[in-house]
Amino acid sequence: MIFLTRRATFSASHYYWNESWPAEKNERVFGRCANRNGHGHNYTLEVTVAGEPDPVTGFVVDLKWLKGVMGREVLAAYDHKHLNLDVPEFKHSIPTTENIAIAAWKRLEPVVTAAGVARLSRIRVYETPEIFAEYRGEA
């Protein structure tokens, strides 16, 4: 089994706010991230797929194809957007790095699976070079 990873970057703004909490609790739990005017990051998205190299091409997947899928399914929706305001899945879910990794998985998994050559193995989202979250499709 070979694991292949493609990286892409996107820039987006967000804030952390739980609508069912009073303002004071949001500010206490989320600190500076609760600023309702938002703030932004340069995110790095790492998509890892697993499979066997094709006997003819030697590819697990064509990287150009994977780049296109990531662009259409994730970057088109997230890049240069306000995640809370512009992205449907974050209308009622806080765009933490964990939730972004899960949401990117949900966007990519059906497309990767439908292609039938490899399975999606891992999504890693870096919010900064020091902070990241990962989702592996676990329940």
Partner: protein, 136 residues
Amino acid sequence: MRAYFGRRYLLSASHRLHTPALTAEQNRTAYGKCNNEHGHGHNYFVEVLVGGAVDAETGMVVDLVAMDDAVRARVLDRFDHANLNLDPLFADRVPTTENFCKTIFNLLHDALPAGDLENVRVEETENNFFECSAKG
């Protein structure tokens, strides 16, 4: 839903790879430059990966500030700008990055404010790193 939250920390420390179990000559052969009598140092990157359910209210596996506090108290305050060989945990173990990685894993595994310790990765230089995982 189980996800993972990771954070990278920088710490600078010195060490010398040397064991009393070997002769001076054998130490030089085994450890090369790392056996230099007066030690040397590195900027270590410690990457801590915490696994757990994403909290429905916060969207988080673990609170970053609380995690930072735990790592600072258990690891950074202890080893940053220190000589690893002089730490009691290395009194009878060579502070290779393999052993350093295991030591950090053991110091952190019961110290996290939420979730469980999935993996510790210690980068000694840009070209080598070591990992210690909950899966053994």
